[in-house]
């Protein structure tokens, strides 16, 4: 089975580039050049060096002893939360800012939900001295306020998107409109494995450093490269894509993505795209999305701004369709419990997004000899207000 993108930009029936003509020159240029740039000696050197010395990679693979005891199995955490800026998002923005520079672009735009991608973009723009504009839904500007302040301090302009539900989907619409209006000097750093080809493939490649490290870290710590299972949360799907990437053709490694169920998959307030969605086109690729019979996109809901999105990357739609990966869900309430559990058992406050991956531990059968890696995609600093409100400390 082939899980890589094909030459036309599709994963099976999913993917492609459903872009208006106004975006064609930029997407064609990117498609023509991204592989050549990524494979160039200069690029590789700079990328690897920045990941090591600036981001702090490799990120640790940590054996969570007390959590393992509780679930009577072996649970490792891939500590993307320890990266500079606090999540996996920086792996991708380092890669894309180098691409943008090679393409001669001087103005960078991005969308953000939780603010982690916006923060990671604002950070690399400061690093490279490039102008940065971040679109963020007005609701998210409120609920992820610390990240907004950080982005502004880094010199980025944060523009509040007021259409729709004022969350990640709407921020993405605004970023695309910006690119249509500024096609010459601007580069759009998309924050997940979504958008038109070649973005899903490019972002997955940048994030694949996660599973690349996991292989030698597991070899070093337990004497085998392959775990029995990998669990990651799924918004657009970039941290999951990175954690799965080098294991896609190792069929004995079980891959589990966890979506945000919000208040429950049987309510209207949910973001469990694969569980509830159907095939369609959103943000320029054919994938699975939450929509009405008439093809209007449904407004999603999740306590976690980073997973509050009605679509999913085409790679995941394909992994689902082929049965290669399984997609489970976790509700807001389950996620809050798991976040508190990790905090008090391991001394790690996770991001709300990452806590979704933890929240399925009670729902799956873990054998004592098995090894499970959970991709801890980010830390909880940005979510303190939500946590304090719920836990009342």
């Amino acid at each position: 089975m082939d899980y890589q993108v094909n030459r036309k930009g599709y994963y099976g029936e999913f993917g492609g580039a459903y872009i208006p003509e106004m975006m064609v020159p930029n997407i064609e240029e990117l498609e023509a050049r991204y592989m050549e740039i990524m494979h160039s000696y200069d690029f590789k050197q700079e990328f690897v060096s920045l990941l090591k010395n600036y981001v702090g990679r490799p990120s640790p693979l940590y054996f969570a002893k007390r959590l393992s005891e509780k679930y009577q199995s072996n649970i490792f955490l891939k500590r993307e939360d320890l990266n500079h800026t606090g999540s996996h998002k920086i792996n991708n923005t380092i890669g894309q800012i180098l691409v943008a520079k090679k393409l001669g672009k001087t103005r960078i735009i991005a969308e953000t939900g939780a603010g982690q991608h916006g923060l990671a973009t604002a950070t690399v723009c400061a690093l490279m001295g490039l102008k940065c504009i971040v679109y963020m839904g007005a609701v998210d500007v409120e609920r992820q306020a610390p990240n907004v302040k950080k982005m502004r301090m880094l010199g980025a302009e944060v523009i509040s998107a007021v259409s729709g539900n004022q969350t990640l989907k709407d921020a993405t619409n605004e970023a695309m409109r910006d690119w249509i209006n500024n096609p010459v000097d601007t580069y759009y750093i998309i924050g997940s494995v979504v958008g038109p080809h070649p973005y899903p493939d490019m972002v997955a490649r940048f994030q694949s450093v996660i599973s690349e490290e996991m292989r030698w870290q597991l070899e070093e710590q337990v004497g085998r490269e392959n775990p029995d299972r990998i669990i990651a949360c799924v918004g657009g799907g970039s941290n999951a894509a990175g954690a799965f990437y080098h294991y896609l053709d190792q069929e004995n490694v079980e891959l589990i993505g966890v979506e945000a169920a919000g208040k429950g998959v049987d309510t209207n307030e949910t973001a469990a795209t694969i569980t509830l969605g159907t095939p369609g086109v959103l943000h320029s690729s054919r994938s699975i999305l939450m929509q009405t019979d008439d093809g209007q996109i449904t407004e999603p809901y999740s306590i976690s701004a980073g997973l509050d999105y009605p679509g999913i990357g085409p790679l995941h739609a394909h992994l689902f369709k082929t049965g290669r990966a399984k997609y489970l869900w976790a509700t807001d309430a389950e996620v809050l419990d798991s976040a508190l559990e990790l905090t008090q058992m391991e001394g790690i406050i996770p991001a709300l997004e990452s806590a979704h991956a933890l929240a399925v531990l009670p729902k799956i059968k873990l054998r004592p000899e098995e090894i499970t890696v959970i991709n801890l995609s980010g830390r909880g600093d940005k979510d303190m207000e939500t946590y304090l409100k719920h836990f009342g400390y």
């Binding site: 459903y18 003509e21 064609v24 259409s163 249509i180 209006n181 369609g280 959103l282």
Partner: protein, 260 residues
């Protein structure tokens, strides 16, 4: 089979006025009355917008009308129901314009058949790529005598212009600037030199210029370089006014086309 779009361009070479509006706006049942009023006021071609929840190629005015139309209950099914007898009422070319996802959910083939039955002459689907159209949908369009209208922009390369011209039938939609709909006011020298480049390019299809055409002046300017022009956001904005429908439409068309 003769298509009304081809007939229009055979009969009229200059100053073609095409008007866009969003179906189901300002009220759900305004779709057909707006078409009738536009025809009464001498408009040559009408683009009926199918509202979509996430219109990325549109500026604030059409985003707003789309939202209202959806809240009013507009849908593809509803639109086809409203338009089922439209050919008993008007004879000018009609085009449906919208995003690909609602069309996919309806079923592209069924959608094209329905358009054929009703007497729709063409479709404009900005996020349907040329390659996908050619590989998957072209035969469905042709079987129903539907033209697929492609867009070009100031950034479109010569090579791609030729490809689009080759793939086009009906006319080419020349987007006046690098922008979403309705974004930019007035006309710049940059635009005029782009219009000039295209008008001298020797395209086999006629062109209409759209995006940012909002006044008699911008309309007249566009008509110097192309067979005519398309007005969208400015008309939609006018439809939002608190006047009777026939006043809104007749006043608007008069302000644009007084000297034509």
């Amino acid at each position: 089979m003769n298509n009304r779009i081809n007939k229009l361009f055979q009969e009229k070479e200059k100053n073609i006025l095409s008007v866009y509006f969003t179906a189901g706006y300002p009220k759900l049942d305004d779709t057909v009355p707006v078409i009738q009023e536009l025809v009464k006021n001498g408009v040559d071609l009408i683009e009926i917008g199918m509202p979509f929840s996430d219109p990325v190629a549109d500026g604030p005015v059409i985003q707003g009308s789309s939202l209202v139309a959806l809240q009013n209950g507009m849908s593809v099914h509803k639109l086809f129901e409203q338009l089922k007898d439209i050919r008993k009422l008007v004879d000018i070319p009609l085009i449906l314009m919208g995003y690909i996802n609602p069309v996919i959910q309806y079923g592209v083939e069924a959608f094209c058949q329905k358009c054929g039955e009703i007497g729709i002459d063409g479709l404009i689907i900005p996020d349907l790529p040329l390659s996908v159209y050619e590989e998957e949908y072209k035969s469905m369009f042709e079987a129903n005598n539907l033209h697929n209208i492609f867009l070009i922009t100031p950034q479109t390369s010569d090579e791609r212009l030729r490809r689009i011209d080759e793939a086009s039938s009906g006319f080419i939609y020349m987007v006046s600037s690098n922008s979403t709909t309705g974004a930019k006011e007035g006309v710049t020298d940059f635009q005029n030199s782009y219009f000039e480049r295209i008008s001298k390019f020797g395209l086999k299809n006629p062109c209409l210029i759209g995006f940012g055409i909002s006044s008699a002046e911008t309309f007249r300017n566009a008509c110097q370089y192309a067979h005519g022009a398309i007005i969208g956001s400015a008309f939609v904005k006018a439809l939002g006014a608190d006047l009777s429908l026939n006043m809104k439409v007749s006043q608007f068309v008069k302000t644009i086309a007084t000297n034509v």
